[in-house]
């Protein structure tokens, strides 16, 4: 009887090697996957921070452009959004007739309007302007009472998007319209305390000063490059639509 020599050691060693190699591969892949994921998150955060906020709706080449200088805490602006702008977005903006541009003009008399504008700008940076803009106006009375804007933004966007918005809101916890202003906040309202989003709000305010705009809401309508005089105050949707129709018929 031929007794076959069995060599368990080299086989075991080979198996061990194979297992080690597989583990090493798996671990390597896992580590590189984690690194990749981390790098991707970092890249998203970086691109969010560098992206300009898009606070407009519709086709940029639409014949009519309507810019609205608005304050999120102003009741008249809320009324204008609910009763006029919502209809305009659903009808004229969707039909490609109107290009809607939101401009921030937070008034100093409203304690949470500047913070709301920051949330809106942060959302606009990740392409969530429309939902957050709507949520802020829809719940204006609620957050105006306690200043808790965050919960309505969180409810309007998904958890992942909210995380991105929160990241962009870093350094924006000091409320410039609150009773006590930080020393770094100068008289012109220009913030220099680290909230990068304020740059966009101040840019809108500069545009408002050039027109000039002094109250909210103020609408500026441009038709085929010709700007019509600024229209302060609330206008109902049927009357605004009538104006749009008269422009489009020309």
């Amino acid at each position: 009887m031929i007794r076959r020599t069995f060599h368990p050691l080299p086989v075991a060693a080979l198996c061990d090697l194979a297992v080690v190699a597989m583990l090493a591969l798996l671990c390597g892949a896992g580590v590189s996957g984690q690194t990749h994921q981390r790098a991707q998150t970092h890249a998203v955060a970086n691109s969010d921070a560098s992206a300009a906020p898009v606070k407009s709706l519709g086709n940029k080449n639409a014949p009519i452009t309507m810019e609205v200088f608005s304050d999120y805490q102003c009741p008249s602006c809320g009324n204008f959004y609910e009763n006029t702008l919502k209809h305009m977005i659903q009808e004229s903006v969707a039909a490609g007739q109107v290009y809607f541009v939101h401009r921030d003009f937070p008034l100093p008399m409203h304690p949470y309007s500047y913070m709301a504008a920051r949330w809106s700008n942060a959302a606009a940076k990740i392409g969530k302007f429309e939902v957050v803009d709507g949520a802020l106006f829809d719940n204006q009375a609620a957050w105006s009472a306690d200043g808790n804007i965050e919960r309505f933004v969180a409810a309007a966007v998904g958890p992942a998007d909210f995380k991105r918005i929160k990241k962009l809101m870093e350094g924006c916890d000091v409320n410039p319209n609150a009773g006590v202003k930080p020393a770094a906040f100068n008289n012109s309202g220009q913030a220099d305390h680290g909230c990068l989003l304020d740059t966009y709000i101040e840019q809108d305010k500069q545009i408002a000063n050039q027109i000039p705009v002094s109250q909210t809401p103020t609408s500026i309508i441009t038709y085929k490059g010709q700007r019509y005089p600024a229209m302060p105050g609330f206008v109902t949707w049927p009357i605004l639509k009538q104006f749009f129709d008269s422009l489009l018929k020309q």
Binding site: P229, A230, M231, F243, Q250
Partner: protein, 177 residues
């Protein structure tokens, strides 16, 4: 001042008053009808100006959209007609009375809006003029001036009526003779 001097003053004031009010109403109508944003005069551009004026009327938040549209599309033409009527000097008591009533209506609307704290355009002489103390003072002064012209128109008529009666009374004995 003699009664003849007073009558002359009243006549001159009435003439200046109706011409000034007439010109003002013509200008107000022109400012509302003129094409905006460098558009040429055409039916379409006038329609757009009227629609723009409708937005100003609407911002007063007093009338429903249908009434706003009707008021905005008729008011500039009413102002135009009233301006021409005042310039002709025909039926002066009626024209000045209607002018005063219209101005009183405008002024009370402005006071109401201002007291409500609505920051809107006045819409008095076309777009772009904010409703504020300045526009209230101007329209208040115009109303006072218009009332003075209306009173003058009624007094002048009364005076003419009295002198006509005295002439007819004086001519009675002659006829009897």
């Amino acid at each position: 001042m003699t009664s003849e001097g007073r009558a002359n003053f009243r006549r001159i004031f009435l003439l200046i008053g109706r011409l000034a009010l007439g010109a003002m109403f013509l200008f107000a109508a022109y400012a509302k009808l003129k094409p905006q944003a460098a558009m040429p005069w055409s039916v379409g551009s006038v329609r757009t100006s009227l629609s723009m004026f409708a937005m100003q009327v609407d911002s007063y938040q007093l009338l429903p959209p249908g009434a706003v549209s009707l008021a905005a599309h008729s008011l500039p033409f009413i102002e135009l007609a009233l301006g021409l009527w005042l310039l002709t000097g025909l039926w002066l008591r009626s024209s000045t009375l209607i002018t005063s009533l219209l101005l009183a209506c405008f002024f009370s609307l402005m006071v109401r809006t201002y007291s409500l704290g609505l920051e809107i355009n006045c819409g008095c002489f076309g777009p772009g003029e904010q409703l504020g103390k300045k526009s209230l003072l101007r329209d208040g002064s115009l109303l006072a001036f218009s009332l003075a012209v209306t009173i003058c128109a009624f007094l002048a008529r009364k005076k003419r009526g009295e002198s006509a009666t005295s002439v007819s009374v004086a001519s009675e004995p002659q006829r009897a003779n």
